[in-house]
Structure formats: structure tokens, C-alpha cells
Subunit: 205 residues, 2 copies
DNA sequence: TGCGAAAACGGAACCGTGTTCCGTATCGTT
DNA sequence: AACGATACGGAACACGGTTCCGTTTTCGCA
């Protein structure tokens, strides 16, 4: 359940001009960062990604200042907590394309996987689409990792003549993400069905 | 543009056990309520439906206590501001059904109208799907007014054999609402296209 | 017109959260 | 051991929602 385990000591940040950005010289800093990741993961499960800063700090046994030092914005913390899962999702794209009967099937499965991920994280989908500038990093990370994969799947399906060729990957991802909002607080609403409809609507006319 | 004008003095509340709930005996109360509605409408346009309570009070030239007296929750205020437009949308359903070439066309047009309404109200779509219990009234009002109309349109289209018969009106409305979130803060995202896809996905296979 | 009770008003005060700042503690090195 | 750099903690501040109560306004009635 908790896969936020800290296998890496420090940012393996995407932008990377060249080489990783120096893994903190002090042991306590590394320890606290790891403790914060665990605490945040736990807090997110019960209180959603909007869990109060003080709660997370308390769980980790550190002061609030320490959170802000390691993760200047909430988005940084969220990204750090879910990075592995987002990366796994991104990497699943090409694999599905290779294993599935058709590109459209692969696309459907990939989207399902993404929906399953989002729908189980209280408030993540909402945060992902908040216009609060503090969430820009979160925005950027998801887009950076997932949109290209989605584009690849769309392209393959379009090339196979299965779907309309004029679908924008960014817009689709954004729409799917939006559909996942509130999935965990309304028993009458299951985003999977609607996302299925959306994917069905992609088919060539 | 501003259609929040106060043509009615007081709640013509839906539930209505019997008779309207007494239109406030005092002139100042009615005047303040109207001023609050105008102020809120104006504030919503520039700051979204999350406009600070104090801002709205200041615009209306009243104290914050007066807001809470007339509109105990933010949802009550939002409902009051947009009631006319929601009602208009609800009433447009049957009319479209009568005027359109086919039920599916009517459904598409009706949904478009709803999207146009939602997409231009900063933050309304987001508030509509917030799990904050303070927004229950808002939830309830939209569902109460619009879901039955949507159900009627879906039924007609299903009866005409144009769409699958197993679509739930509530779920569809909720999905459309979700797709509208963030429409006004991201130039790359146009909910109309995705909603169109969704409606297309409804078609019988 | 004058009066008193009821209704409504206003805004200070309170609370919960995010964010900043700086004196103190810890680490790693010499 | 001593020192400088690094990191820590939490008090203090900012901000927005909400409550509460002393004051003002309205309205029916004499």
C-alpha cells in the first residue's frame, strides 16, 4: 500500500541541466526528508493531498519550517510522493502498445490505469487542475511525463485508422483528469464509465 | 450581462411544504438582500465564486454579519445569484426537444448551453463538485433542477434508438460539470470539444 | 406623533491554516 | 576540540471564514 519508500536520497529532477543536483551533505537532512515523504504519504491517504502542513510535520516529528525547506510548495511534496507511480504509469504506455491487440485497446487500458491511480488519491485530481499558481510544479510534472505517452498512443491509434486524427493529447489528459474529480466521495459517480464513453467517442466516425 | 436583478423579494424555495416562506417584514432587510445579490454577482465575475466574504460585504456596503444572516452558507448565495440562469437552462430542455431535428441533437444543444453557462463562471464548476459539506445546497439545487431534464432528453434519444439506453443522467451531468472545471484559466483547454466527444460516445454501437 | 418590542445591522473578536523568519542545535571537517 | 556551514523548530504573522452581541432601524399601535 505505501510505496513511498525512499529508495533515492534526493531529487533526480527532470530538468537536470547535467548530473543530479547534489544529494544534501547532511545525514539529518536526508533522514528528515525521507520521514516527511512517509508522513505525507500517510497523511494524504487519510486527509487527502490537502492535509494540513502541521499535521504532516507532526507525523514526521519535525517542525513546519523543515517541510518548507525541503518542499517549498505543496506541489513539490505531492510530486515527490507520487513520482514513482506517475513514472510507472508513463512507462506502461509503450508496454501496453506492444502487448495489446490494437492501439485503441492499448489506449483504453492505459487510460484506465491512469484513472485507477487518480481516483484513489483524495483530492489529487482536483489539485491537479486547480488554477492556484502554487500547483504549477504538479501540473508540469504530470504533463511532462504523461502527455507524450498519451500522444504516442493516440498517434498509433490514429495511424491504424481506429480513431479520429484530430485529438489533442493534452486536452484528453486534462479531460480524463477532470472526470476523476470527486470520484472518491460520491458513490453514485464512477469516472471509469464516463471515461469509457469519452474513449468510445474518439472512434472514427 | 448582470441578470441578478431582484425581481422577487424572497425565497421562492423549491421544497415549499406549502406557500412561500414569508417575504421578510422589513424594508432594510429586503434592500440589503438585493444589494448583496448584486454585489455577489459582481464579485463572482472578477474573483470567482470564492470571492472573500468581506469583499462582497464591502461591495454591498453592509457588514459581514448581514451576509450570514441572509445566506447562511456560501452555497445559498451562489444559488440565489444563479437561480434564474439555472432555471432558464432547465426550461430550455423541453423546448429544444420540440424544436430539434432529433432527440440526440436536442441533447447535444442542451448540454452545450449548460457548458456555456458553467464555463464562464469562474470556479463554479469546481465548487459544484467540491466535497465540502457547505456546498450541499448548491449540489442539491443543480441536481434537482437539471438532472430530470437531462433524464428526459436521454430517454427520448434512447427511445429513438439513437443512443445506448443505459446512461445515467446524474452521472452524465456530473461528468459534464467536471469537464468544465478550469475552462476559464487554460487557453489550451476547451471543454466543449471533450463534451462533444462524450456525447458522441453515447451513440448506440 | 410618540413609543416599545422585534428585527436586523455591523464589525470586533476568534479560529484554523498557510507562510516566514531567526535564534538555536547539529553535522562534518580541520 | 573548535569552527563554520547547514539545518532545525516553532513563534509570529497573514488571511479568510464564522460567530456573537451591543447598537440601530423599522414597524405596528396607541
Amino acid at each position: 500500500m505505501n510505496d513511498s519508500g525512499n529508495d533515492n536520497d534526493e531529487d533526480a529532477g527532470r530538468p537536470a541541466p547535467d548530473g543530479p543536483p547534489a544529494p544534501s551533505r547532511r545525514k539529518d537532512a536526508r533522514r528528515n526528508k525521507a520521514a516527511l515523504l512517509d508522513a505525507a504519504a500517510a497523511a494524504f491517504v487519510v486527509s487527502g493531498v490537502d492535509a494540513p502542513v502541521r499535521d504532516i510535520a507532526a507525523r514526521a516529528g519535525v517542525g513546519v519550517g523543515t517541510i518548507y525547506r525541503h518542499f517549498p510548495t505543496r506541489a513539490d511534496l505531492i510530486v515527490a510522493v507520487y513520482r514513482h507511480q506517475v513514472d510507472a504509469c508513463a512507462e506502461a504506455g509503450p508496454a501496453l502498445l506492444a502487448d495489446s491487440a490494437s492501439p485503441h485497446t492499448a489506449l483504453g487500458r492505459w487510460i484506465d490505469q491512469f484513472v485507477d491511480f487518480l481516483a484513489t488519491k483524495h483530492g489529487l485530481a482536483a489539485a491537479l487542475h486547480s488554477d492556484d499558481t502554487g500547483f504549477d510544479t504538479l501540473h508540469a510534472y504530470f504533463i511532462d511525463r504523461l502527455v507524450p505517452v498519451c500522444a504516442q498512443l493516440l498517434e498509433a491509434a490514429a495511424a491504424a485508422g481506429e480513431i479520429r486524427p484530430d485529438i489533442d493529447a493534452y486536452e484528453l489528459m486534462r479531460g480524463v483528469g477532470n472526470l476523476c474529480i470527486g470520484a472518491d466521495t460520491d458513490a453514485r459517480y464512477d469516472p471509469r464509465r464516463l471515461v469509457g464513453l469519452l474513449i468510445a467517442g474518439l472512434r472514427r466516425t
